[in-house]
Symmetry: D2
Subunit: 375 residues, 4 copies
Amino acid sequence: MLKYGMVGGSMSAFIGEVHRKAINFDPRAKLVAGCFSSDIEKNKEVQEVYEIDRIYNTYEEMASAEGARPDGIDFVSIVTPNSTHYVIAKNFLLNGISVVCEKPLCFTVEQALELESLATKNNLVFAVTYTYTGYTLARVMKEMIGNGKIGNVIAVNAEYVQDWLLDELSDPGAGQNLSVWRKDPNLSGVSNCVGDIGTHIESFVHYVTGLKIKRLLATTNTYGEQLDLNANIIVEYENGANGAYWCSQVAAGRLNDLYVRIYGDLGSLEWRQEEPDLLRYTPKGEAPRMIARGTSYIEELSANEKRVPSGHPEGLFVAFANIYRDVISDILARKAGTTFDKECSYPTVSDGVNGVKFVHAVIASANNNSSWQEI
Amino acid sequence: MLKYGMVGGSMSAFIGEVHRKAINFDPRAKLVAGCFSSDIEKNKEVQEVYEIDRIYNTYEEMASAEGARPDGIDFVSIVTPNSTHYVIAKNFLLNGISVVCEKPLCFTVEQALELESLATKNNLVFAVTYTYTGYTLARVMKEMIGNGKIGNVIAVNAEYVQDWLLDELSDPGAGQNLSVWRKDPNLSGVSNCVGDIGTHIESFVHYVTGLKIKRLLATTNTYGEQLDLNANIIVEYENGANGAYWCSQVAAGRLNDLYVRIYGDLGSLEWRQEEPDLLRYTPKGEAPRMIARGTSYIEELSANEKRVPSGHPEGLFVAFANIYRDVISDILARKAGTTFDKECSYPTVSDGVNGVKFVHAVIASANNNSSWQEI
Amino acid sequence: MLKYGMVGGSMSAFIGEVHRKAINFDPRAKLVAGCFSSDIEKNKEVQEVYEIDRIYNTYEEMASAEGARPDGIDFVSIVTPNSTHYVIAKNFLLNGISVVCEKPLCFTVEQALELESLATKNNLVFAVTYTYTGYTLARVMKEMIGNGKIGNVIAVNAEYVQDWLLDELSDPGAGQNLSVWRKDPNLSGVSNCVGDIGTHIESFVHYVTGLKIKRLLATTNTYGEQLDLNANIIVEYENGANGAYWCSQVAAGRLNDLYVRIYGDLGSLEWRQEEPDLLRYTPKGEAPRMIARGTSYIEELSANEKRVPSGHPEGLFVAFANIYRDVISDILARKAGTTFDKECSYPTVSDGVNGVKFVHAVIASANNNSSWQEI
Amino acid sequence: MLKYGMVGGSMSAFIGEVHRKAINFDPRAKLVAGCFSSDIEKNKEVQEVYEIDRIYNTYEEMASAEGARPDGIDFVSIVTPNSTHYVIAKNFLLNGISVVCEKPLCFTVEQALELESLATKNNLVFAVTYTYTGYTLARVMKEMIGNGKIGNVIAVNAEYVQDWLLDELSDPGAGQNLSVWRKDPNLSGVSNCVGDIGTHIESFVHYVTGLKIKRLLATTNTYGEQLDLNANIIVEYENGANGAYWCSQVAAGRLNDLYVRIYGDLGSLEWRQEEPDLLRYTPKGEAPRMIARGTSYIEELSANEKRVPSGHPEGLFVAFANIYRDVISDILARKAGTTFDKECSYPTVSDGVNGVKFVHAVIASANNNSSWQEI
C-alpha cells in the first residue's frame, strides 16, 4: 500500500476534502502525513479527524523529513493557493517525492520547465489535476478520436463559462471573499480567468485530440478590474485547423460549463462537463447518437472499469478518483521496476507546462493588439 | 469514531464497493469487521485490500461475536442478495446492532413488520438504502413542498424505466447472468420489476411529498416470463389526488430513468435521477426555473452542506454518502443520549415496510383484474 | 382547382384563421363560400378580408345552396364550437358535400356512427383534424413502426399535459372566459379534459402504431368542478400489451405537451409535439439516435415532400397543411374516379368514432370504480 | 389590398415557395405578376398553379411594365441567385417599386450603398429577409434587452453551424449540385460560408442588441476549396465589449444551428433558432427561466400578436410571415401618408449594407494575418 501526504487542505478548505475523498476510492493508498495549515490548530484538526500519523508545521520540514524516512510518503498532494505551488512542488521533488499538484502548475514558463525537468531527471511522477480529463467519457472521447471515429480534426469549438464573479463586477463590495485573490496578480499570476478556467479548455482539447497549438490570438476583458474576467481566443493547431475558445466568469446563467466540441471530416464528438455521462457522437451523414457511459455498445478500453452502472451519474469525485488511480498505478509500476501502460492516462507536469505557456501567450496577444503569438 | 461491519460485498460485487466508498466519505466511521463472502478466499481478499481487523465465515457468527464484544461494530451494512436480507437483519438486531440494509427490505409484510418492531423495541437505527432520496436536490424538493412552494399536491406522475432486461425478453439465452435470480420467485419474492425499481418510485414520492397511498390498482406484464418486467399503477393518495406510476425494465433507450413530477395547485417540481443536479420548478403562472444544486438562490436548509460546488456533478456516491452521514449522525446522537434532529433525513425500516406493502398490493391488483387494493 | 367553404371562423376566432392559412399552403383549393358567424357584421368582415364570393346567414342555408349549385363547394371546413359539429357535419353530408371537421367529432357514439355511415354511403371524404398526426415526423414514426424498426409493441406511455386551466381551479373568477364552455356538459359533452386533449393521445398512438384498444380503466379528477380536468388511463391493446395515458389541464409548467413513447421488443420511438422536428429512435442495444426532420438518412416515404429544409422548424401550420393536402388529394382522386393511395394519410371519421368511444369508456370507468371497460 | 410580384421562384425552387406561402398568411397582399424563371415553361407553370394575372420573360421588362401601370405591383419579392440581387433590385427601385430581397443584398459595399441610397431617395420600402429576426421570441429578446432586463451587454457568443457541405469536403463528386455555385466567387462573391450564414449572426446580434461593430478580426478555412467553409471571428463593439462568432458548414451533427447568447451585467438571454419558441433568460443571481412563446408572463409588445397558442410550435413560415406583415404595414402606411410605427420591425436595406461590410471585413482580416479591420 502506498503512503501519501498532503500540503494544504484544512477541514474548511473545499478542494482538499475532495482530493482526500477521491484518493480514498483507492484502497492502495493511505494518508499518513500532512501540513494542512500554517495554523497549528487547524493542522491538528485534520490529524484528529483522519487519524493521521504525523503532521508538520511547514512544508519544507515535511518534505525533508518524509524524504529522509525509510517509510516516508510515496507522493504528496498539493492543494494550496496557486501562488505557492511552485516552491512546494520543487521542494518535494528535490527530496525525491512524487507530486500531484492542483492547477495551475505555477506562474511562469521558467518555473514550469524547471519542475518538468526535476521530475524527469529523478524519474518521479508529477500529475497536475486537470480534473475533467478524469471523467470516463472524456477518456472514451480521446480513444474514439484516436481510433479515427471522426477522421481528421477540422474545427474545434470549446468554452468554459461561469457566472460567479458577475456579482463583483457591478458591486465589488458585495462579492465573495474567495475571489479577492483572484484579482491580485501577486496571487493569481498574469491572468485570472484564463489561468483559472481557460487552461482547462486548452488541456482538455489537447487531451482528447492530441492536437498541438501552433499559435493563437486573443482578446481579454477586465471590465475595470486588474485581471481578465472574460477572454476570446482563436487558436491554430499544427495540422492547420482552427479552434475558438471562450472562457468567462461573468456569463449569467452558466455555472461551470466546460463544453467541448470536436469536428472531424468523418464526424463529430460533443461533450459537456455538467452532463459528463453523455457524449454526442455524429458519424458523417448519420443521426447524432447520445452515447451514455457504462453501456455495452461502447467499445473503448477506458470504458471497461466502470465504477457505477449506466444511468447512475458518475460525478466529480470519480473524475478525481480516476486520475489518482492512474497516478497510484504509475508509482506502483515504477517501484516495481515496470512500466505503467495505459491508453488513457493522467495529465502530467508537461501538460502543466503547456498550460502556463498558453496563459502567457493569451495575455501577450491581448496586450499586443490581438496579434498572433507562437507557442 | 464509529466502527462498522459489512455482510456481502466481495471485491467483484458492485454494490458493496459503492457502499464502502460512500461510507468512506465520512471520517466518523471505519470498517473493522465483515463476512464479505461465503467463499473463504473472497472473504480474505476484502480483508487484505481494506486491512480489516476481523472476518467471519457466517453472518450468524459475526452478529453474535460483534454483539458480544465491548468494541463491537456500531452498525452493519447488509449488501447481500435480496432473499437473505430478512434473516441477516433480524440476526443483527437481535444482537443489539444497528442496521443499514439494501432494498427491498424483505419479501413479506409480516417479515417487514417484525424487523420494524425489533428495531423500535431496541432503539436501534435501521436504514434502508432507497438511495435516490440522498441526492441534495431530492432533499431540496422535499423541503420546498413542505414549505408550500407548490401548494397542495393535485397530481403526480412518476416513472422508473430501464432497458437492460430487454435482451432476455426476446432471447433468454443471450441474457446477462445477473438477471437469472430476478426471474425466480424464490430469490426475488412476488415481483421482479415492481420490487426492484417500482418501490423506488413509491418511496421517493412519499419522501418528497409526505403523501400516503390509500389504495392502488395495477397491470403487470411478464411477456411469458415468471415475474413482471413492466407495470402500470394508478394510486389514490389520502388527500384524494391520483398518481400514475410506471416501471419497466424493457423500455429500449432508457437506462435508469427515475423521473418524478409533482403538481400542486400553486406550482410544480420535476426531477430526474439521471440529471440529479437540476430541479425544474414552475410557480403557477410563471416561467419554469431550472434550479441548479449549489446555488445561492436555494433557500432550503438541505442545500447548505454542499460537497461540491454548483456546476460540478454530485454523482451517485454523494447520494449514498448523504444517507450514511445521517445514519452515522443518528447513531452518534443515540450513543450520546441526544436526538438526531434533521429536516431531511434517511429512509428507515418504516419506509421499507411501506415498500413491501406496496409491492404486494400491486401484484394483488394485477392478479385480481386490476381491482383497487387498499394499503 | 377545388372550391371550399367554411362554417365558423370569424376574424377573432383563433382556429379558423389557422385552418384558412393552412389550406392556403395548397394552391389546389380556394375559399369561395362561408358562414363564418351568426353575427352578420362578423360574417361580412371575413368576406371582405378574404374577398369571398358568397356568405350565408345559416349553415343550413349554405349546405343546401352549395349542394344545389353546379359550381358549389367541394368540401366544407367546420370550425365551430364542439357541441355543433354533429348537426353541421350531418347537414353537409346530406347535401353531398365532403367534410373536414375539428375534433371532437361529436358527443355520442350514436351520432359518430351515423356520421361515419353517411360519409361511407355517399362516398364522401370526412376528415377529423387530429392535427398532430400531420407533422412529418409523426408520419415517419408511423412508417418506421410499420416497417418493423422497433419490432412488436410491448409498452406505450403517452401523455398530453397543459396548465392553462390551473388558474380556474384555485380561483374560478380569475379564469379565462374561453374555459367556461369547457366546464359545461351541454357544451362539452361528458368530458372536458379527456374529450379535449385525451382523445389526441388515443388517436395519435393509434395512428402511429395501428394498435386497437381492447379495454381500458381510468380515474378522473374534477377538483370540485363539474367536469374532469385530469385523468389517468390504463389501456390494454388487442395484442396484449398495456399503455398508460395521462392527460391534464392543471399541470403547472406544461404548455401543450403531447409526449408519445412507443416501446417494442426491437427498439423504441419517442416524440414530443413541442419539438416536432426531432424523433428519438433507439434500436435495441444501441445508443439513442436523434433523428431530425428533413435529413437524408430518413428512408421513409413520408419524409420526401419536405416543405422546409432540415434544421428549420416546421411548425403547426405545416401539420395542418399536410392533413389538408391529403384531403384535397383524396377529393381530387375521387372526382377523377381514381384512388388516393398514400402510405401515411389523414385521420378520418372512423378515427373520430374511435375518439368518441374512447371518451365514453374513460368516463364510464371513472364512474364505475375504475373497472375495465371494453371498447 | 396590395399587389405584389416575384422574380425567381419556379415551382421547383424551394425558397420562392416559402416566400409565397408566408405572404399568403396576410390577406392584405396578392400575387399578381411574376418572372419566375427564364425558362418559359417553368414561368407558365407558376402562373397556372397560382392563377397569376401576368408573367414576363425578363425582370427588366417586368420592372418597367409594372412601374408604368396604374395598377402595377406595390412591391416585388426577389428570390433569385445571389449574384443577381443587385441588378434586379436596382431595376425595380428605379421604376419606383418597393423591394423585398433575399440576403445577401449584393456582393460589394458600393452596390449596397447605391441600393440604400436609391431606396431612401425614392421613399421606397426595401426589406432584406434576414428571416430569423421574424421569430416572435427574437423580437421579445430585442425588447427585453431594450428594456434593460440584462443591463449593459458585456459579452456575446453566437454561432451558426451546419454540416451539409461536409460531404463535398472529402468527396467533391458526391456533393449536392446546389453547392456548386457556393464555391464559385463569380456566383457567391468573396465569401461562401460567411456570406451565406455568418451574416445572419451579424444581423441577428445587431437586431436584438442594437450594438454596432467597431472592428473585427477573423480566420477562415477553405480546406482546399476556393471559398471559406468555416470561420472564426472576434468582434469589438462600440461599447467596448467583445463577441465571438463562429460559422461553419462542415460541423457534423449540426443542421441549421443559429445559437445566440447575449450576456449583460444584470442577466443573460440565450436563444436557438432550432427551438425558436424557447428563450432562456437568467436574471443575475437567479435561476434560469425557460420563457415560452405565447405565455401571459411575457410583457413585451411583440408577443401580443401570437398566431398560434403557447406550446404549439410557431415554425419558419411564421418568421417569414412576420417580416412580410411589417413590410406590408409599412407600404400601406406610406401609401396612406402615415408612419409605420412598430417597436420591433423588419430588417432593411441598411441591415443589408451592414451585412456586406461585415463579410468584406472578415475576408480582409483573414487575408491579412487576422489583423483588426475597422467597419
